[in-house]
């Protein structure tokens, strides 16, 4: 087929794919130079998460923040994770951080840095503790529910757990008020199976957006008490705690990219049906 015979749509369909990559990458930058801000509606699952934490957590309660996402997923998971950390600190909870991803150390360091204002009045060992890494295995999560000390003999820095004030009477899932898990994979499944069902510990998911789909039935059936869906959930949480931050800014880029994707799909299908009719 020579060039002249091509219809408009066929020509359009032959654009090099790199053109699209450039359009997208440049389009994504615009909102960071000129912010595009629209109001954000709160979804029911995020509201349940927020209200669940507010209702359940009393000052002094011990909660687990499970870091099951790698540094590679920060842009998506970090906003919700930090917003939840801040909320828990506001509620007076004592936080145990641990993670199932081998680069958890850097993520923990980053959480401390991003929530600096909140952590500066807290004391390590009394208000929060970092236990480090456990293998990405169902057996490990199940054993953590039965006895934290069988997996973590010491905290990440070598102090035995019995010498850490906030860990004195904490060893089982029943000593933990709730678990918030930020995932890219399926670690939250393990918490559902090994913590929520046998011990009744409330669990909520604050991971990537796709899990917002796969875990929706768990949320609907009351297995998860709340759920934050990706960076959008992060933006909603930032609105709820009254501290617009990274996710709120990123919503501008989400607007641009999502519009671009929808336009692409619509154009593609117009072209498809136009050339099929011919």
């Amino acid at each position: 087929m020579s060039e002249e015979e091509l219809t408009f749509w066929e020509k359009l369909a032959r654009i090099d794919r790199r053109v699209f990559y450039w359009i997208l990458f440049i389009g994504l930058m615009i909102p960071f130079i000129r912010p595009i801000v629209f109001p954000i509606a709160i979804s029911p699952s995020t509201r349940d998460l927020y209200e669940g934490i507010k209702e359940m957590v009393e000052p002094g309660d011990v909660v687990v923040m499970n870091i099951a996402f790698g540094v590679s997923a920060w842009p998506e998971c970090m906003p919700a994770f930090c917003a939840c950390t801040k909320l828990l600190i506001k509620e007076g909870a004592k936080i145990i951080f641990w993670g199932a991803y081998y680069d958890v150390d850097m993520t923990y360091q980053e959480v401390l840095r991003r929530c600096e204002d909140y952590f500066k009045d807290l004391k390590y060992g009394e208000d929060y503790v970092y236990l480090g890494y456990y293998p990405y295995q169902e057996a490990a999560v199940a054993q953590l529910a039965a006895s934290i000390r069988s997996i973590f003999k010491t905290d990440n820095y070598g102090t035995p757990l019995d010498e850490i004030p906030m860990m004195k009477n904490v060893d089982k899932a029943t000593d933990i008020k709730l678990v918030l898990s930020g995932d890219t994979g399926d670690v939250c499944d393990y918490y559902i199976r090994q913590w929520r069902i046998p011990y009744g510990t409330p669990v909520a998911e604050i991971g990537i957006a796709m899990l917002g789909s796969s875990y929706m039935p768990f949320y609907k059936s009351g297995v998860l008490f709340g759920m934050s869906v990706g960076v959008r959930g992060g933006a909603e949480l930032e609105k709820l705690i009254g501290e617009p931050g990274e996710a709120t800014i990123r919503m501008g880029a989400i607007n641009i990219s999502h519009i671009l994707v929808v336009i692409a799909v619509i154009l593609a299908n117009i072209g498809y049906f136009a050339s099929r009719r011919k």
Binding site: E138, T154, R193, S257
Partner: protein, 213 residues
């Protein structure tokens, strides 16, 4: 976060920026040695960080304190753990089956006992729980949609009987309902991927001091 001031951090920032461009030279231009270089850098770093964090330090943290207290039984899992490495030898591969047997037993034992309630029973219960008293027409519609949808979708995965007659209609509806679900999943995937990419676009500008850190 303020723009870093320490020389090492400023240097690091620019290294990070350059490595990012090397990777994106692949989609934005074509495959080239710079991309290969950055990719191999990543693998090298990842393997080292993984080994430091998992096999070496976490193992020591887990087994050293009990061993020092005289819990000799902890030697067994250590030996079993190293037996896994026989997977690398064609001749002695069978030795690795013993640790695998423990892992498989624990993994599947926990998995199978775990899925029964949340994946099966809770889902059935949730499907057949009617809306609370005082529910409106919309709630009843959603109740009917979810129940019929779940029934038809599960029926679609009946695999050893032909879908004939009335079942044929039900399973076709089931497939459409699965497609709606995958559509929503697709929408969320776009959110995830674009959030990731926007993080990179933001970083690109931050290093150049066009966007605030």
């Amino acid at each position: 976060m303020p723009y870093p001031t320490a020389p090492a951090d400023i240097f690091g920032l620019w290294v990070a920026w350059l490595l990012m461009l090397m990777i994106y030279s692949y989609p934005l231009y074509k495959e080239n040695p710079a991309f290969r270089f950055a990719e191999h850098t990543y693998i090298g770093l990842m393997l080292a960080i993984m080994l430091v964090r998992t096999s070496i330090t976490t193992t020591i943290n887990m087994v050293a304190p009990p061993l020092m207290k005289g819990r000799v039984d902890y030697i067994i899992p250590i030996i079993l753990g190293f037996m896994m490495y026989f997977l690398l030898s064609a001749r002695y591969r069978w030795i690795s089956r013993y640790p695998i047997a423990v892992l498989v037993g624990a993994g599947f034992g926990l998995g199978m006992r775990g899925v029964l309630i949340p994946n099966i029973l809770k889902q059935v219960i949730s499907t057949i729980t009617p809306p609370a008293t005082g529910a409106g027409a919309v709630d009843w519609w959603n109740y009917i949609y979810i129940a019929i949808g779940t029934i038809c979708a599960v029926m679609y995965f009946i695999l050893t009987w032909e879908h004939k007659g009335a079942m044929g209609y039900a399973t076709r509806l089931g497939r459409w309902i699965i497609m709606i679900g995958l559509g929503a999943y697709f929408g969320n995937t776009v959110l995830f991927r674009m959030a990731m990419l926007s993080g990179r676009a933001q970083f690109f500008l931050q290093v150049l001091k066009i966007a605030p850190m």
